[in-house]
Amino acid sequence: MGDHSKETTQTVTPAEPTSPHRKPSAKEKSWEENSLRPTLEKNPERQAEFTTVSGFPIQRLYTPADLSGWDPDRDLGYPGEPPYTRGIHSTMHRGRLWTMRQFAGFGAAEDTNQRFRYLLAQGQTGLSTAFDLPTLMGYDSDHPLSEGEVGKCGVAISSLADMEVLFDRIPLANVTTSMTINSPAAVIWAMYLAVAEKQGADWKKISGTLQNDILKEYIAQKEYIYPPEPSMRLVIDTFEFGVKNTPKFNTISISGYHIREAGSTAIQELAFTLRDGLEYVEWGMRRGLELDEFVPQLSFFFNAHNDFFEEIAKYRAARRIWHKAMVERYESQNPRSWALRFHTQTAGCSLTAQQPYNNVVRTAIQALAAVLGGTQSLHTNSLDEAWALPTEFAATIALRTQQIIAHESGVTNTVDALGGSYFVEALTNEIQRGAWDYIEKIDALGGMVKAIERGYPQREISEASYRYQVAIDKKEKIIVGVNDFVTQEKPLDTLQIDESVAHRQGERLSKLRSERSNDEVARRLGALRKAAQGSENLMPYIFDAVKSYATLGEICDAMREVFGTYEEIAIT
């Protein structure tokens, strides 16, 4: 495998803060001489260097000299038109607000069903499902490894029977649902489609988003089951199935969120996510799917961290890079493939356990960046999430934060309010350049799957994450309430999930296994196993198994037998 140490020290440093190519105007030079210099002589600045939360250097002032060669018609364009810097719709949030989509899930299906119906009643406009760890890892609630984890980080779903309870009295024909599930995504999606079918909803009309992004699992969140090759096959199977059967469903949400949470910089988040996107495009084309048929069903998911302008520039650069790649690399002819649509979640890793009410403020700033960056949907975190899953009280404030931005702040009155700002445009350019350098580096490694196998993105993130921790420990970066402005405080009331959920789930599974036709289950699982050994699309087999009430664990096990499991080489 060779020595990777050279790779780990690579830092992508786009444009010096004061580039030698910069040609300030006579007026700017005179300002430097007559105003700036005397000021600095009298009062030096607070720090020698100003950087973003990612450590990216920021200049004192941005002027037309920072945008030399920048052509507003070419580089900025108009909203709804290439290169989509200003947004993917011509009227953006004047036409339609973003979808307020709060991620929720805890306990057993009935507990989450109740929270879903509460959130819809509070004016939430879409659902988003959090699954517990056993579900995410393809284990039933009664598996030995599930002990202590059932219903804790999300809702426990072990079979179609649980899924029916989860969406009870929620009409899937009218509500769009996002499901944060990756390795077992095909199975959970089959369950969702089975519930929709039972409700009489038309698959051609239902809409929602499956996260289904296995690459970022190997890179960052580490909830993988199978090795990369068969995992990618399952992803492409869902693309193919989606093109034919559910044209309005986003079959993937290519996610930078978790990459950022793992400690990456903004540029790394952007670069690795978009390169993941290109990897899926290439695997889809290799399967023989028509580029401009499946790419419009790909969606993206980014983090919104604390650094306001860095985040806004990141979203703007994301749209421009995706457009460039689709048109230049793949010669896409369909504008629906060019426009990058994305969901945003405010940064969980930025929340502090200390003085938790401050998290409402952090989340509001982050959410504002997502909105000004042109997001299509948004989740705002709750103030208590550094401690536990949110209480209903905390989740309501988080939703209200979005409603205040939408209806009171005035930022939705115009499209891309920051377009043309010297700073925002220069930063958008620099972030684009930095991300593109990484994309080319990964191309040179043979693509993302190869880069992951060599530990390249994992190592880059690990380095960035450690650098950030050191900066906090040294107080080079201040976190209010953590390394400065510290006070003593009383503990919060948090949501507790007790072990009764695991007992309820256990009983429900025993009942299911005694009431269903176990012969049919065995037949369906046998057919799936056989198909997995070949190269057919597995979605129809998974769907049949789900409908026979085979459990999630049984279905994932059938594929484990054929595909094997994946162990990463731990990098510290």
């Binding site: 890892m137 969140q221 976190i479």
Partner: protein, 132 residues
Amino acid sequence: MPEKKIRVLIAKPGLDGHDRGAKIIARALRDAGMEVIYTGLRQTPEMIASAAVQEDVDVIGLSILSGAHNTLCPQLMSLLHDKGMNDVTVVLGGIIPEADIPALKKAGIAEIFLPGTSTQNIVEFIHKRIAH
């Protein structure tokens, strides 16, 4: 005579894959001169206890963010006891509700480090504890 290096096993029990904290701690302790072994992800209490015996460590650092600490920590402590590892210092970091802390300490966890703890505090705690 050179001082013997403190040996630490950093372990991530349970199904969760969020390893940012575990990896930062592993590196910070190594930078502080300790010998650090990182188990990788999804270790059962049995696997962690066996690794601790095999590596003859002074300290076990657990990282749990998923809420499974009340199940996993007592299991590990009883396994360590069965294996005669009564001297090992076990510390825990992650998302741990304050209400759970007294029971975890009673089960034998030496210290619980909550989000926002600086790496220096953890290094100092281990140095003091092992010096005794």
